[in-house]
Subunit: 408 residues, 2 copies
């Protein structure tokens, strides 16, 4: 007896048979006395197909027009699902981004939602109809189509849940929840019953495969309870909720790894104001995302500065920094692509000391050398040699008691 | 130096290479100093593919949702062409039906345009940009997507030309103009330089393959000069204009044939008020389109009534009429699928007597029996045996001087 937002990802609507399966799930939720708003992605592969088509036109398609093209993917699935529901005698209406009044900024391809005017959705819900919304898309104030970036349907769903003050936002996907580690490399990984927004935000590598990170910020801001679950089973998934709603606060909720980054170090950089800006501005201008930055004070007015970039951008970033190094008279630039970042995450960390020492000791015991360290309030990340990534995740998973606990 | 609307049909945008060809044509027109608004159909086959997908969901998909689905076809081509133009350094903007403010009634699948608010189009034209509009689609006052029926992009183009008071509306298609007869069966058929709106409206069978009939009514109402031409050549096509603009008024401009109809006759129908309604209401309710209706007064308070229906609906129509015949005590129902309708069309007919007698005498000379006759102000149609259709077109084409005239 409530208002439920259900979001189905690309693999859940990959073909007509799977959309039929979605229709059945939606109807079941209705029959239990709920009002349902469905948010859909494009069929798996369709967005890539459209990107490919645009790529054949030009390597750098106009962003406004690319969004018009990409928006057809979700338009198709929304219309198809609405048709199916109507055909099964459940009143339903599709709404595209502009019709659902998902107003965004004009940042084509990666637009941010400014507001959602939920009038039409509410109007349909009042009639007890099912509303099927094309995810991933919105429009600017002029009515031009925008898209919200990869995984944007998650953010559509959470934003709509917030606008409607829904009881829950269910994210149906091809995994059955959030795990304590990647089950592919850690056999003892377990599904979490609940995880806090902050933990989810810090689990970038594990979490981003499941939920668009921006949707989690949105959920946190508006306190929308999110249920991540599989569209192929009836099993409960993982609740993403605020910290207070997590029944049990584990010290560490998960161990993640990321092998997609490379490290670049500038040695003996003059330690003076403005140097960091000189090093990072050209990187930012080149559109390269920097993740970790480590700078250690050093004697003699000089310092070493290390940062990580996506492996795909490593070569470009190195070229840029070689130039910069000359300009600022740094001694040397060197880097390494064979690294992995291992993180332990847990809101419990805030109240428990010793997490860092357990982590370092555990890695030490396996003779794994720590190259870089960075921390946030609820996360500790270590960069290590890539070849030790799997081992590191496994031993940390055990060390933080994630293997044994049956009641996570 | 003018404002030109160019509409490209499905075969003209069938793949990226052909859309590239369209881009070149558009640019050429711009380079000649014109402002250009392009109206596009979906890629050939795409609309049928979408209909097929909907057909897999249900044999009778919800009409509102079907329009949402179908609209993706034109959305795709509009975005792709705009991308190409921008990539060739010509500023361009795509506009979907709702963005171009093509406001229609709520008759999903066959909506009629109520008005076009051309503000955004004009705004872009002021910036000397090319505007690329998704044809076939509009929206109702609530912003719900509607489509204009098969060939609806023609009507989109003509309506936009009217709203913008454009100098000309060019319809680019896979034929190079309007012919005096179907060149496939009449070797001596010639392309017309010009044809009047009324002639075009009466050329249903020949004309409808080239232009959506409704677009011709629209062009007539707003006096929009329409140029039907091939997108695969530079050759001039046929101008569809008002009667006064036709340089030379031929008595007969074309001979058309239609083999898609069947004839049904009710014999000895009581000649009393209300009978016609009883005969045709159930046919209309079954969604069967009746073309010709012929009733002759007859002695003895009884009459024979004959009408034509599409061949595909013949069996259903016969079943219906057999029931009706019993109810109204008609003597007999019989029909014939092996018929063809041959028409001669020409605005000149209004001022020239004798067209009918030339037609009848010509058919008589070939021993072709006339089964039914019907006339409009500028058209005479005869139903004959199907096997004589080609012969009839050829001899009439010659009889009305269409073969010889080099300056049509």
């Amino acid at each position: 007896m409530g208002l439920i937002i259900q979001k189905y990802g690309g693999t859940s609507v990959a073909d007509l048979k799977r959309i039929q399966n979605v229709a059945k799930k939606v109807i079941k939720t209705c029959d239990q006395g709920n009002l349902v708003v469905v948010v859909l992605s494009a069929m798996a592969g369709v967005t890539d197909g459209l990107l490919n088509m645009a790529g054949q036109v030009t390597p750098s398609p106009d962003k406004r027009e690319l969004d018009v093209l990409l928006a057809t993917g979700e338009q198709t699935t929304a219309a198809i699902l609405a048709m199916m529901l109507i055909n099964m005698n459940y009143p339903a209406y599709s709404l595209l981004g502009y019709q659902a009044n998902v107003i965004t900024d004009r940042e084509y391809g990666n637009a941010r939602i400014l507001e959602i005017g939920a009038q039409r959705i509410k109007e349909f819900l009042k009639k007890k109809a099912i509303v099927v919304i094309a995810g991933f898309q919105g429009c600017d104030i002029k009515g031009d189509i925008t898209t919200l970036g990869r995984g944007g349907s998650d953010t559509s769903a959470v934003a709509i849940a917030a606008a409607l003050d829904a009881d829950i936002c269910e994210i149906y996907t091809d995994v059955d929840g959030i795990y304590t580690a990647d089950p592919n490399i850690c056999k003892k990984a377990r599904k979490l019953k609940a995880i806090s927004y902050d933990e989810m935000l810090n689990m970038s590598s594990l979490g981003a495969k499941v939920l668009q990170i921006r949707s989690v910020s949105f959920a946190k801001k508006y306190n929308v309870p999110v249920h991540v679950r599989s569209s192929f089973s009836e099993e409960e998934g993982t609740m993403v909720v605020n910290e207070d709603s997590c029944m049990e606060q584990l010290v560490v909720s998960g161990v993640t790894h990321n092998k997609d980054e490379a490290r670049i170090t500038l040695k003996k950089v003059p330690d003076q104001p403005g140097i960091a800006a000189k090093i990072f501005s050209p990187i930012a201008e080149a559109g390269i995302l920097v993740d970790m930055i480590i700078q250690n004070t050093r004697a003699g007015g000089q310092t070493d500065l290390t940062f990580t970039v996506p492996k795909a951008d490593y070569k470009r970033a190195m070229e840029i920094e070689h130039k910069i190094a000359k300009e600022i008279a740094a001694e040397k630039v060197f880097g390494d692509k064979n690294i992995a970042k291992i993180s332990v995450i847990g809101v419990g960390m805030k109240n428990h000391s010793g997490v860092a020492s357990v982590m370092f000791n555990t890695l030490c015991r396996e003779n794994i050398n720590i190259i870089m360290i960075s921390t946030s309030e609820i996360r500790i990340s270590c960069v290590i040699e890539e070849k030790y990534a799997e081992l590191a995740v496994q031993v940390l998973h055990t060390a933080f008691g994630l293997d044994e606990n049956e009641n996570i």
